[in-house]
Amino acid sequence: MILNKNLKNIFLVIFTTLILSACSTAKKSGDLDGDVYTGKETVKYLASGVPDRVFFATNKSSLTTASRATLRKQATYLRKNKKLNVTIEGHADERGTREYNLALGERRANAAKDYLMTYGISGKRITVISYGKEKPVNPASSTLAWSQNRRSVTVKVN
């Protein structure tokens, strides 16, 4: 009986270790935090140290801490280059209906625009366009590709 109980405990310990390790791999598998892309593979730069894009969670348009830091860098850059106008392109992954994704891309692009405006960039300098799921940066059908495709990209127009 005692042996049995001990065995049970051992199993329990092993089991929890397994769960914990599973959790940690899901949270930080490669360049993902939750399902938001944190890597640099597809990122381009408006200027040295100023990334052009931010990434979103599935079906979400809220900005992560990292996204806000990126957008503040963009705002600083835009304040220094007063004559520069930009277009913010909003994109979605391929795992939703086409029309909803168009709306979602629009919402993501506007989230980025609003944040730039709170850092003093005039809305007149920013246009937004949504491409929904139409222009994936990574054409693969994988969790990584989808996370890279859920993005808003700031593009110089002049």
């Binding site: 348009s61 086409r98 909803y100 949504s130 054409p139 693969a140």
Partner: protein, 445 residues
Amino acid sequence: MKKIFLAFILYFISLNYLYALIEVDITRGNLDPLPIAVSPLYVDVKSVEHEDVKVKELGNNISEIIEKNFKNTGLFNPLKKEAFVQKPDIAHLKPRFEDWRLIKAQALVTGKLLVKDGKLKVEFRLWDLTAAKEMTALAFTTTPSNWRRVAHIISDKIYERLTGEEGYFDTRIIYVSEEGPKSERVKKLAIMDQDGANTKYLTLGNELVLTPRFNPTNQMITYLSYFRNMPRVYLLDIETGKQEVVGNFPGMTFAPRFSPDGKKIIMSFAEDGNSDIYTMDLETRVVERITNHSSIDTSPSFSPDGKYIAFNSDRSGLQQLYVMRSDGSNVKRITFGKGIYGTPVWSPRGDLIAFTKMRKGRFYIGVMRTDGSGERLLTENYYQEAPSWSPNGRVLVFYRETKAGSKGEGFSATLWSIDITGYNERKLTTKTDASDPSWSSLLSK
């Protein structure tokens, strides 16, 4: 196009309303399709050549289109012609019923045609072989180049007589033709007959186009175009090729459809990132805001009587289906099942709403009653969405995308149809990859 419609002179020779012994029940999946013999139409010897129409083969070609239409319904089993026991002209006059019954046929289609003076005259008869009776007969005259439509109209009449439902063969499908690698797709508006014939491209592929829909008379199309990199709802006249932007919105408009009377366009407009539903009257240009909510409201669909609108919204947190009165009042959520729901489309019969459902990484096409009850999932796949109804409300067409490899290889987009019974799933033949299908109403109505 209109002139061609008018060129049809339809008149009935006789219509037999006697109790039919053979009938096809289309309300359930038909595992025992009706054996039907479609005799080649007899080509009258007085026929003369006409332009590039192959007059001698016309009788055979028309019968083959009818057979293919019937086979595709899954409700009929067209028998092989080699087994046919009577010549077309003789069978058309009066079939030897017992001989046709020997090859296990239950219904027989016969006909004859004459091409003369630039006209095509066709008549056909449908025979009930069990009761040894003529069930229906019809004759009409049109231009010879219209011969494919003749075959579809005959198919519709026979389908109608045998099932008691309106047919859907003399119809077209508008869709988005897709070519090129996944991340650089070239998309064009394309239109074809429901059987895949007569494909025509309506745009050149210079700009991205999406989500075309017919108006009720099938002469206009509304769709989304990225012309000049400004995503807006457009209107296209198929006959004249004239295009115009719908309304003067300061942002993206998308997800357009016509109202059932064809007078309005209903669509989403994205203002400062938030998408709501609007209508615009095409005559008065009056714009009305229908929803006003901080969530995404899109993919609207009018009920056939125009009194209600179904749409999808993420106001609950995730995409779900809602129904409201057409003035935007009385919004009611109708989906509460597990998963998320999109693209509600009201059946032309008014009784059902077709939709896309996403759950655990799989995509489903389904139907439910208009209050959200009686959900039935018809087909499951890696990715499929955007159902559109056949005009009789019995079949759905939708598109499917395949999973792509690490470089986008293996990706395809194709059109599929399925009966609302969940049976008879079928890939449609298109010249290129295809998505966003929309089914027309019956052309000759």
